[in-house]
Symmetry: C2
Subunit: 285 residues, 2 copies
């Protein structure tokens, strides 16, 4: 089975659009901040704006000069933080090397932090009090839910220990309600293939092209490919050798069309949640 991220993402977008149609006098706005002219960042931000607009969410694009100072960047973020008409703030990463990401993130109010990257939102996730959580691991959870994949008591393996994907993925898979037994593997893991082969649910978030081949996959496993490597020919390649893996896995995300669209859909979902936390939209149900 191909796990169709494009379709599930479209369902989420349509659900948001219908929800917002109930509030014709309310405008929800997502602000994106992009520093410099990295082409991949431009591409990602452009896609986020298109999807937001298709869901009925307005967007505001702030483009800042590559050489902006830390102080000026923080001032720009503070303007958005103080603006009641802005409900979500997304700063496209990575920033140019001279800028301090942590200090910048401190300027984003937790309730507008649609990427779930601030210390407070990360801390709430760790405390079992999650609100806004990182979009990529949330997207994997939404695929699991959409396909009715059982997680309770199952063995999950997450490969990669980034604070953006791997670590929150471990917490989301292991939390009460999901209840998977989760193993966190990474570059220092010995015999990665054997560990992955034990996974009923495998999430790879490394960025190492075709790292995961048939020797890594348990027959019947569900495989989620989150790693993205941009090849010289401008195509993207996941962590998983798709053709090899799909013969053994029961379900697998393609690349593109798998976890990528879900990241964007969860950004929209987080923007709605942010507006709800700010009291601009009512709590549904």
């Amino acid at each position: 089975m191909i796990i169709d991220g494009k379709k599930v993402a479209l369902d989420i977008r349509n659900r948001i659009k219908s929800h917002l149609e109930n509030f014709p006098h309310t405008t929800i706005t997502l602000a994106t901040v992009i520093v410099g002219s990295n082409p991949a960042s431009q591409l990602y931000v452009g896609m986020k704006h298109r999807e937001a607009n298709a869901a009925g969410i307005q967007s505001k694009r702030i483009e800042l000069d590559e050489n902006i100072s830390q102080q000026e960047l923080e001032q720009q973020i503070s303007l958005l933080a103080d603006d009641d008409d802005i409900h979500g703030i997304l700063v496209q990463l990575p920033l140019p090397k001279h800028l301090n990401k942590e200090k910048m993130l401190e300027k984003i109010p937790p309730k507008k932090d649609v990427d779930g990257l601030t210390d407070i939102n990360m801390g709430r996730l760790l405390q079992g009090q999650k609100q806004l959580v990182p979009c990529t691991p949330l997207g994997v959870m939404r695929l699991i839910e959409a396909y009715g994949i059982k997680t309770s008591g199952k063995n999950a393996v997450v490969v990669g220990r980034s604070s953006l994907v791997g670590l929150p993925q471990v917490l989301l898979l292991a939390e009460r309600g999901a209840d998977a037994t989760v193993t966190l593997a990474h570059s220092r893991t010995q015999d990665l293939a054997a560990i992955c082969k034990n996974a009923d649910i495998l999430v790879s978030a490394v960025g190492s092209p075709a790292l995961i081949n048939e020797a890594f996959i348990k027959p019947g496993a569900m495989v989620f490919d989150v790693g993205v490597t941009r090849l010289e020919n401008q195509t993207i390649q996941g962590d998983v050798d798709f053709e090899a893996a799909k013969k053994i896995a029961a379900g697998i995300t393609p690349m593109p069309g798998g976890t990528g669209p879900m990241t964007v859909a969860c950004l929209l979902e987080n923007t709605i949640l942010a507006a709800t936390l700010q009291g601009v939209l009512p709590r549904s149900h």
Copy 2:
């Protein structure tokens, strides 16, 4: 081998005492807050004061009435937060049921949060920017260091997913530098014995007496018992069946005298770190 937490804790206490003797005109003060008269809480807080004083750290004990309101509790915390002569604030948990722990924790400044429980300190741990981290999992790491136990590439299993112990333990074992492959198991884990039997390093933090017996232990494993159950006869019992496990494990913490003293030692260590973060003590080395 018995992993002697009492001895390592004493070493830490003595190191802190020597360090503080370099600053005879500086007084470091740990404030403890205890609500109500739970005898176990009284016992723990008393021990923390004794150990602090033995290390040359002053302590201040605030006892509050069982029926204190949330607002009054928060006011008391705010007084300590604003007092430059107080360097660490520890609120003994659990609180009486009518009080909101999360709202109380928000009043503790992250730099005085010697239990590492605030959202911001938890978030920093998840982001790989740790400062003050929870004392019990930190104590296990200090035992691992003191005994020169290799973690890189080893399989570690953490049983129990509390935000106070299990989850931060996973992060500390898997972070760069420690580099273990870590599995998080819990009450919904299937075949817990088989999963534990794969662990080179096993940390149990459940609170289920003698849950871990010889069938759970890989020959040569290092076993850290963090679970504490208070029996009717007022003795304490760990998660590990010590007599059965010690025949198979290469190293094991006893109970008492294992991870318990380390929790208190790490509270002292965190108090010194807190004072350092506040600029009251210089950064050493």
